[in-house]
């Protein structure tokens, strides 16, 4: 139990970093090993201050790199503690090797990822390059669109990852600066409500149980590796129902509802934007404006859970739409954007197979304004009216210089 009581108001004005750090305090994280990096620094900084000032009975482990930070998290989690940390960008990249170790060892570590571009060129601002870098790492990935959600999902993350039928590490993503350094109204739970929701950690095969020695990360070679990875993948896939349950339980204590796929104004939508992060909300403003002023039936669909990818729910949300723009905030490096590919694959298994186009946008923190979303919606409307894709399949939104685009449709035209 913490020695000091942290005074909270029912309504706070917090930025995303502060909100995430408060969730770490309320979940009573035992160990945080961290090597701070912009823009996620305040999360670990605040946790350190909570430890130093007696607001939490935990341990802050100072390490020499992000690789070491995640390694120490692996050790502490295997020992049976509730463990979390935070990182961004280059720090995330340096952690990658150990991310795979953590998920393979089935350790329920929580990692707050404040999304930021990857160098080079050097850039501290937000895009989803680091988030995408983690997408095959075997972690559950939850995505917050604002500071309130960064707080809510951080609490849910412990409960999902530590569930005995899941036992997987969980990332909670928020957009660098746009969420992490933007203060907004946040309505926190009381310490008691929050902790009761998360509950005590019930470690499995903890290494500090000396009566029952166990090995973590043993060598398997072709004999068992495949079976282990398949089991891990199945655990990720099966975590969908646990995530649904945790979200339902969270709604009971907070009144706030989360779904693995969020849909806005989709009941009668003819065109849609699919996106991640704060863009989801900005696109909603554009959709409302188009509905009011131009009668365009626009809607927005967003994976709340990026991994396990909600193939089923994405399909259900979008199958009756005519034309869909999938927005990727990461340089695709010689391919179509990853979110575009995944959404397209899901839609390919539907009878109507709506038109799908891809927009690369917002790299390195390039602003995404309501006006940009309106333009994208209007191009979808033109596709819907024409019955085929009228633009290159992959385009760039908000890019200076000559228009850039790749590939033409082979359908309809």
């Amino acid at each position: 139990m913490p020695k000091e009581i942290f005074e909270l108001n029912e309504r706070e004005v917090w930025d995303g970093n502060y909100a995430a750090s408060q969730a770490m305090r309320q979940a009573r994280v035992d160990v945080m090993a961290a090597y701070p990096i912009t823009p996620s620094t305040p999360i670990v900084e605040n946790y350190g201050a909570y430890v130093a000032n007696g607001y939490i009975d935990g341990e802050f482990v100072m390490v020499e790199s992000e690789h070491a930070a995640m390694s120490a998290c692996v050790g502490a989690s295997a020992a049976g503690g509730r463990v979390a940390t935070a990182t961004s960008s280059q720090g995330f990249a340096l952690m990658v090797e150990v991310l795979y170790q953590a998920s393979g060892m089935r350790l329920p570590i929580v990692l707050n990822v404040v999304n930021r571009a990857l160098a080079s060129p050097l850039n501290v601002r937000g895009d989803h390059s680091d988030m995408y870098l983690g997408r095959d790492s075997g972690w559950i990935q939850l995505d917050a669109f604002n500071a309130q959600e960064a707080y809510d999902l951080a609490l849910c993350a412990f409960k999902i990852g530590e569930n005995h039928s899941v036992r997987l590490p969980v990332m909670v993503h928020q957009d660098g600066f746009v969420t992490s350094h933007t203060a907004q109204n946040v309505y926190p739970l009381s310490d008691e409500e929050a902790y009761n929701f998360v509950g005590d950690i019930q470690p499995v095969d903890d290494m500090l149980d000396f009566s029952r020695p166990v090995t973590y990360g043993a060598q398997t070679e072709e004999d068992w590796h495949f079976e282990h990875k398949a089991k891990q993948h199945k655990a990720l896939m099966d975590s969908r129902s646990v995530i649904d349950e945790v979200f339902a339980e969270f709604k009971k204590v907070s009144g706030r509802e989360y779904k693995r796929v969020e849909s806005y104004m989709m009941e009668d939508a003819e065109v849609a934007i699919v996106a991640l992060g704060t863009t989801v909300e900005t696109a909603r403003v554009a959709a409302m404006e188009l509905r009011e002023k131009e009668g365009i039936k626009a809607g927005v669909v967003a994976p709340r859970v990026f991994r396990p990818f909600p193939f089923d729910m994405i399909r259900d949300a979008l199958e009756n739409v005519k034309s869909i723009a999938v927005l990727d905030r990461s340089s695709p490096g010689g391919a179509m954007g990853a979110l575009f590919n995944e959404v397209s694959a899901a839609l390919y298994t539907t009878p109507k197979r709506p038109l799908v186009t891809n927009y690369i946008y917002g790299l390195g923190g390039r602003d995404f304004a309501v006006e940009d979303a309106i333009e994208i919606f209007k191009e979808q409307k033109a596709n819907a009216d024409a019955g085929h894709i009228t633009t290159p399949i992959q385009q760039f939104s908000g890019l200076r210089g000559p228009k850039l685009g790749f590939f033409q449709t082979k359908r309809g035209s």
Partner: protein, 187 residues
């Protein structure tokens, strides 16, 4: 929705000013947003901070805005920064300066057709006098309270005390005097 853009230099407290304003506005039951455009900004570099205020949750996360109020807390930025960028026909300007309004406007061509929407106050001098340091953010808040008519001065002062509660009493008192003076002196 009310949108506010602050023009400042790193170290003058625009980010803190924007967040304090957000904090106080939120106590009236409104939804707020406060953010800044800075990254590896050094002390003295020009930066912009932003507020949005609305009755319903604010879901626009774009940096782009057409401000209702432009608050300039560094006197030189009125000359060197594009303070009228993306403005509207109703945008109000509150500018820190030791000059009187006529003289300031005569020196800044972009303000000449919006003279009746320009307000001046010497936030630098006020903060030097009352707080002992050049921290023009607090007096700017006082001027904003007056020009916007968003709050009663007493309500604002009471809440500002809460925002500043971790500071020594001397600093809190100085801020209260600075806010009150700017409220009375802005014109």
């Amino acid at each position: 929705m009310i949108e506010i853009r602050w023009h400042s230099r790193a170290g003058q407290g625009a980010v803190t000013g924007a967040k304090s304003l957000g904090d106080i506005v939120a106590t009236t039951g409104k939804e707020v947003q406060a953010f800044a455009l800075y990254g590896s900004a050094k002390r003295g570099a020009a930066l912009r901070a932003y507020n949005r205020i609305d009755d319903k949750p604010i879901i626009n996360h774009a940096k782009f805005m057409r401000p209702d109020y432009v608050l300039v807390i560094d006197p030189a930025l009125a000359y060197t920064d594009d303070i009228t960028m993306n403005d509207k026909e109703t945008t109000k300007y509150i500018i820190t300066t030791h000059l009187d309004k006529e003289q300031l406007v005569s020196e800044i061509p972009s303000l000449q057709d919006k003279k009746d929407r320009v307000y001046v106050v010497d936030c630098v001098q006020i903060s030097l006098d009352e707080i002992g340091r050049s921290i023009p953010n607090a007096p700017m808040l006082g001027a904003f309270v007056k020009v916007s008519g968003m709050f009663e001065l007493d309500y604002f002062l009471e809440n500002m005390k809460r925002v500043l509660k971790k500071f020594p009493q001397k600093i809190i008192d100085g801020n209260m005097r600075a806010i009150t003076r700017a409220y009375n002196e802005v014109k």
